[in-house]
């Protein structure tokens, strides 16, 4: 063994190298305050290992980025653990960087002759921030997409070259495939390569100058191996424990719904270690002092000046009070950043709109996963296409956009916004259900604004019937009204009433005869057989998918309101909605949003 080492040493000089690496002198002995650099190197090693394996499963394009990350997070064995380690180690690095910088500055380790090494440290900090920024976009989810859009928009503010720079970073004028390929090349290629080089230089220079021992020396001189290595190892273990804790708690890392430029994302926030900058841009001081240049000042000039001051520290440190100034500046910077971060977190915690948006984002992401599971995978057009064809996702949006200026859904516009003005058409929450129909046939409710109150039908035959004849017929035929309601409502075949309808077969049979005989609905409405003289909407299949799509398509059709239609546009006939959109609206209103049923319908199209 020893002869083999001799042989190797005579050809490589490995002994002296190992000796140099392991037996570095540490005046005053090993100390806990020297561990930060090693923990950062450890984190970088974790990022390289986890990053390379993530790379093996990641595909950077607009239709595969989110999809491949979804696979890592939700389907790959141990994928969530890998992704969580990568995600939270990145965050740990930012914290450790600050601690390392603090220790270096407080101990005066940046002063001559260590200036160049300190500058390598500043470069490493920028590279770490760059890796964080580029990594945030790669999952191509709503959050990373929104945050990076802001970051690249700010890049465009750099005087002179800004717009060209922005275009080069984004890979064109718009976010797309080339944004991902470029960000990924930076994140997995250029920045890590620069990082490796800078770390090598940083460590080599550190070894050249030796450790800046904290005075006074408390103990006799020690050696790197094993004294300091043990401490470094324990510190790395502590970092790993924290990262593992966060990974297990979050079961990996968060993955929001796929990026969509057509929908507002009110939960848009940068990663937490950029929150101070985000909050800084919100400060009114910027606009009140610098007017419309506030953005440039806040996003480019101030951060640039801070960076300049950080880089100038070794020079400033030569002044008599320079070192104290440096420490003071760093502490003020740190407290300021912490204050801004806290302010941002606190204002979000008390902001109901933001909290609702976060809940919505969590639901959207869970919905995407449910649809993919139901579909047995993601279609080639990407996960966004699944959501676009999902009534639970698209229904409320379409409703808010096309229906909510007249109708309501449970009092709101489908997306939770309650308008001040009264609706001019019925509330469609639960349309087709027994309870909805019972409300319509209730004399005290039929002229409510949830039913016909806002329509011209409030003075029509139906309301007269509900207020006049119906209560009398109801009184002389106990149970008939309930049966009739159940029978007409069963025409809708609502998923929520499926079991109830099946169990009530006998009741429905009775109800169907009450429709004709007891209540005489068929005097005006057609029911289960063609009726050329019908003057009111067809009750055959009333509230069914086909019926609702038909009304949305063209309410002026003789089967529905004909010439008596009150203001409702013929959405599909006039080209305002496509058949597919009308179907999505119908499915959502009917509560037919079970993921399995949704993907089966989409497959049939």
């Amino acid at each position: 063994m020893s002869r083999l080492v001799d042989w190797l040493d005579s050809r490589t000089g490995v002994r002296s190298l190992v000796h140099e690496v392991l037996f570095e002198r540490i005046p005053g002995g090993a100390r806990w305050r020297y561990v930060w650099g090693s923990t950062l190197t450890f984190c970088f090693a974790v990022q390289v290992i986890t990053g390379i394996v993530l790379w093996m499963a990641y595909s950077p394009s607009a239709t595969t980025a989110w999809e491949s990350v979804y696979y890592i997070q939700h389907e790959m064995t141990g994928g969530w653990l890998l992704r969580g380690l990568h995600h939270f180690t990145a965050q740990a690095m930012h914290v450790l960087l600050v601690l390392h910088l603090l220790q270096v500055v407080i101990d005066g380790a940046y002063k001559a002759p260590r200036e160049v090494n300190y500058w390598f440290g500043v470069v490493l900090m920028l590279l770490t921030l760059g890796l964080g920024l580029t990594g945030y976009l790669l999952p191509w989810d709503q959050k990373g997409y929104g945050a990076t859009k802001v970051a690249t928009a700010l890049m465009g503010l750099v005087p002179g070259v800004g717009p060209s720079l922005q275009k080069l970073v984004v890979g064109g004028t718009e976010y797309g495939n080339h944004t991902l390929t470029r960000f990924f090349a930076l994140h997995a290629g250029l920045l890590p390569a620069l990082m490796v080089g800078a770390v090598a230089a940083h460590v080599a220079l550190f070894r050249r100058h030796g450790i800046t021992a904290r005075q006074p020396l408390r103990r006799p001189e020690g050696r790197f191996w094993p004294d300091q290595v043990l401490m470094d190892g324990v510190a790395c273990l502590a970092v790993l424990a924290a990262v593992l804790y966060l990974t297990l708690r979050h079961h990996g890392a968060e993955l929001h719904a796929p990026a969509d430029a057509t929908q507002p994302f009110n939960a848009a926030r940068p990663e937490w270690y950029f929150l101070f900058l985000f909050e800084f841009l919100k400060l009114e001081v910027l606009t009140s002092w610098f007017g419309h240049h506030g953005e440039l000042v806040g996003a480019i000039i101030v951060p640039g000046a801070v960076l300049g001051l950080l880089a100038a520290m070794p020079v400033l440190g030569n002044w008599r009070l320079g070192h104290r100034f440096n420490i003071g500046f760093l502490v003020v910077l740190l407290l300021g950043s912490l204050g801004l971060t806290f302010r941002s977190l606190q204002s979000d915690a008390t902001n109901a709109g933001y909290q609702a948006a976060v809940r919505g984002a969590t639901e959207a992401s869970a919905r995407a996963v449910a649809l993919i599971k139901a579909n047995g995978g993601i279609p080639p057009a990407g996960a966004a296409s699944l959501l676009r064809n999902d009534p639970a996702t698209a229904g409320p949006r379409l409703f808010a956009q096309h229906c909510a200026s007249c109708h309501r859904y449970d009092g709101h516009d489908g997306q939770g916004t309650v308008a001040a003005e009264l609706p001019s058409a019925p509330d469609l929450k639960g349309f087709g259900s027994r309870s909805w129909l019972a409300g319509l046939l209730e004399p005290s409710k039929v002229t409510n604004h949830a039913y016909y109150g806002g329509t011209k039908f409030k003075d029509g035959k139906m309301v007269k019937y509900v207020v006049g004849k119906l209560p009398k017929r109801h009184a002389s035929n106990p149970g008939a009204l309930e049966a009739m309601i159940a029978a007409v409502s069963a025409e809708a075949a609502l998923p929520a009433q499926r079991d109830q309808d099946a169990a009530d077969a006998a009741l429905l049979e009775k109800g169907r005869s009450h429709v004709r005989e007891t209540f005489g609905c068929t005097d005006c409405h057609a029911f289960r057989k063609p009726d050329d003289e019908a003057s009111a909407p067809d009750l055959t299949g009333w509230g069914s998918r086909e019926w609702v799509v038909g009304v949305i398509a063209d309410p002026t059709h003789v089967r529905f309101y004909g010439s008596r239609n009150d203001r409702m546009p013929s959405f599909v006939k006039d080209g305002r909605l496509t058949d597919v959109e009308a179907g999505l609206l119908a499915d959502w209103i009917r509560g037919d949003t079970d993921a399995k049923a949704v993907v089966q319908r989409a497959a049939r199209r």
Binding site: G146, L168, E174, N177, P264, G291, D413
Partner: protein, 182 residues
């Protein structure tokens, strides 16, 4: 034989020439891959920018008469790197009826930092969730503390019968002037 005093400058000159030649040769070797890389990297600057075309976005009769903004998705053809998608959602705009036959179109991207501006029927104004910029219903800045340097970006609108057409353009953010991204 040769005079050593004379030899030094000759050697010095030859050495300099060698060094210069080595530098040039080495530089040339690196220049080709670096140059090729740089040219290809600069490709986005020479590509025609997408967008800027007229897109049919809505039916005029679908816009509420009370002038409330309605969010509309802009669907059109898009070339995204190697992909050509004939019908893809490009973004969203707000349409607002300002008269019997006049419509105002506002871009949904905040002119401050590029987030998606949301419309709130109460209190009938636009709100950006990122840095709390607010805008009046016509897109103008309605709060002196708003961080946005300019009003929301209007888009050119053309009415053809009942069809509303809009020229969908992206604008640079964070500056006072409204400049199209090109």
């Amino acid at each position: 034989m040769s005079n050593p005093v004379e030899k030094v400058p000759a050697e010095g000159r030859r050495a300099f020439l060698k060094e210069a030649a080595a530098g040039v040769v080495g530089g040339c070797c690196l220049l080709v891959p670096a140059g090729a890389g740089l040219v290809a990297w600069l490709d986005p600057l020479s590509q025609p920018s997408g967008g800027g075309g007229w897109v049919r976005v809505a039916a005029l009769s679908a816009l509420p008469a009370d002038g409330a903004p309605r969010r509309v998705t802009v669907v059109s053809e898009r070339r995204d790197g190697w992909t050509r998608e004939p019908e893809v959602p490009l973004g969203a705009i707000y349409l607002r009826r300002t008269g019997e036959r006049s419509v105002q179109a506002l871009h949904s991207v905040c002119p401050h930092a590029g987030c998606f501006v949301d419309y709130r029927p109460e209190p009938r104004s636009f709100f950006c969730p990122c840095h709390d910029s607010t805008f009046a219903v016509d897109g103008s800045i309605n709060d002196p503390g708003s961080p946005s340097p300019r009003a929301m970006d209007g888009l050119e609108v053309e009415l053809k019968g009942d069809e509303v057409w809009v020229r969908f353009v992206q604008f640079r953010t964070g500056i006072k002037e409204k400049v199209a991204v090109s």
